[in-house]
Subunit: 417 residues, 2 copies
Amino acid sequence: MTAKNAFYAQSGGVTAVINASACGVIETARKHPDKIANVYAGRNGIIGALTEDLIDTGKESAENIAALRHTPSGGLGSCRYKLKSLEANKREYERLIEVFKAHDIGYFFYNGGGDSADTCYKVSQLSDAMGYPVQAIHVPKTVDNDLPITDNCPGFGSVAKYIATSTLEASFDVRSMCATSTKIFVIEVMGRHAGWIAAAGALVADQGIPVLTLFPEVEFEQEKFLTAVKAKVEKFGYCTVCVSEGCHWPDGRFLAEQGTRDAFGHAQLGGAAPVVANMIKDATGYKFHWAVADYLQRAARHLAAKSDVEQAYALGKAGVEFALEGHNSIMPTVVRKSSDPYVWEIGKAPLSEVANVEKFMPKDFITEDGYGITDKCREYLYPMIRGEDYPPYEKGMPKYVTLKNAPVAKKLAAFEL
Amino acid sequence: MTAKNAFYAQSGGVTAVINASACGVIETARKHPDKIANVYAGRNGIIGALTEDLIDTGKESAENIAALRHTPSGGLGSCRYKLKSLEANKREYERLIEVFKAHDIGYFFYNGGGDSADTCYKVSQLSDAMGYPVQAIHVPKTVDNDLPITDNCPGFGSVAKYIATSTLEASFDVRSMCATSTKIFVIEVMGRHAGWIAAAGALVADQGIPVLTLFPEVEFEQEKFLTAVKAKVEKFGYCTVCVSEGCHWPDGRFLAEQGTRDAFGHAQLGGAAPVVANMIKDATGYKFHWAVADYLQRAARHLAAKSDVEQAYALGKAGVEFALEGHNSIMPTVVRKSSDPYVWEIGKAPLSEVANVEKFMPKDFITEDGYGITDKCREYLYPMIRGEDYPPYEKGMPKYVTLKNAPVAKKLAAFEL
């Protein structure tokens, strides 16, 4: 077998550890020059493949590639670009194969969530049918933690650690002030469909913090919620609320969609946190503060969870190793052997079983009142947030790497997206 | 001299390191049992003194007191309660002296910002006049960094490190996505009157991030700002905006006050960040994300700056040592000897020169266009964010201490606030 090139691309919203997977892919590939000549990356994700805008990772120093392990964001660029179905846009899939063929690419490593697993699956099918077989491996990534089969998704553990820590710290702050000042603190976290990240905020209850969590899985009931807030404040003097951006009314409208207009009549896009905070204020008069963590949470590499970094790297590495063993159309997975002590190993799942399957929080992870998490959920979450993995610092800030991202010379005619 | 008790109280908004000052006060006092019998703390700040609700810190283990050094928030409780002027409410000052007398308190350590420096000053004057002299020492604390004479204020360095790091991380995230998705990231930071914290966000420019900072010191000009945003996006593909909560229009209205109303006609309290983000979207169509860090920034002990923790402790320690040397009506200060390497020592300032003086950002710390910081500002800021001081972790979250806060038996009649 002569050495082929590999193609790697980052897909969708980036995370604190997706670059650790890139690091795992590239470092492992470099150890097998007899089989993988070079790793080309898609500039800004799959769009880079479609437009033949490839990055020559061979031009990066070993030091810079190693630094990807502790650098958040997508070092090669990512995109939100979902390929349509094979029927609707076969042209795009054919273009991918054409680009792969032109650059002698035999391996396709796609690092993303549910949509990219689907794309990856189709590429492996189509390349076969087109007589230019490409080994397509999906490397999982998503802070939403909603991929099936794998125990968890890289990116999630670090967000969970960040939200648990930040909610704890802010709650301590409110506790100090509540006798005469702020009594309500609302933190808004990511998760449009699944409440995994919100569940991490609920962990602070174990440290004696009165916290109410609002999950997307539970329809919002205003009166019940306000009663619960008042009960917490009466008992503890304050209350923390961790609200998922996906929290919604029984009719499906998000809490964040309040139809508010500014002075000029423009629709005002707000967050769920100010809505919840103002609602509490209107009903109780309690003074409040609110925070919206937004990108801060998924980019917070400074507080990454140790096993999250290790798994992100290991899944990238395993992707390459599985490919070299001849596997195709699979996704390496995290298999949990034990929660305490936390023992995990790498497994694999066929992409046919991963594509288009979404994993929600199990019903028995949420308490009956809808505002907390069960012991079963705790057992699942704690191992993933344990352990720190600090980046190096320079002049007081984390020393993150910016790659050169040198282009590969184009060989094909331009392609209209 | 027989041993007297000391009184310690935390004042105003708490920080990531105010407990480190408490630790410095209590640990140092414990080393001088011949002069300081015990440290009583005000439960929830000065209100605890007025209502004779004192905490017996002697009941806390050495281990718990030591843990204050790495615990954010106010471990003894704080409050926003400004004593009126001596003329308007002499009764409150007299009550303080009465409580001090009843509990044999000879030292008053007040840990706060400008208002508490003023209170501290008045207590020292009045106690003298009333024939029960109390040595009053103000221990500086404020994330606003607006106290005079001292080079900086404990609490500020850690917020600065947190905001610089978070802005860097989120900017890396946006940079990954901007080719096809989010092009604008707006982070809102604290600072109603002074732009010190916003200035820390501006430091990311040194890492190649296109950032525009909106200071409270600079009147907001919408057209000029939008032009600057467009220029950054055209050159870099994205733009980060760090907006101070105190950013305001030429007529003095805060950007956050947009007179927005929700569906029920209630005034909607928003942040400056969503206002700025929506303004950019309306003018340019750029996709945006925004974050409001709120309490997360001032409570983020997990990312405290090393010298901030050291200074907070050293100022508490120095407060006690100055008192034992016979000083009165002073505030220990940070004196900068050199920026690179960062060398500082403890000095002292008379409270008469501290009370009611606010320190703003010097004009020559802000660039001419109003959106960035000068080298002079950089030289001031960098030493303060250098160095990490991580708390211990347990089960994935920082292990912060919650004190017992045992009450001291009351001796006086109740007092109406």
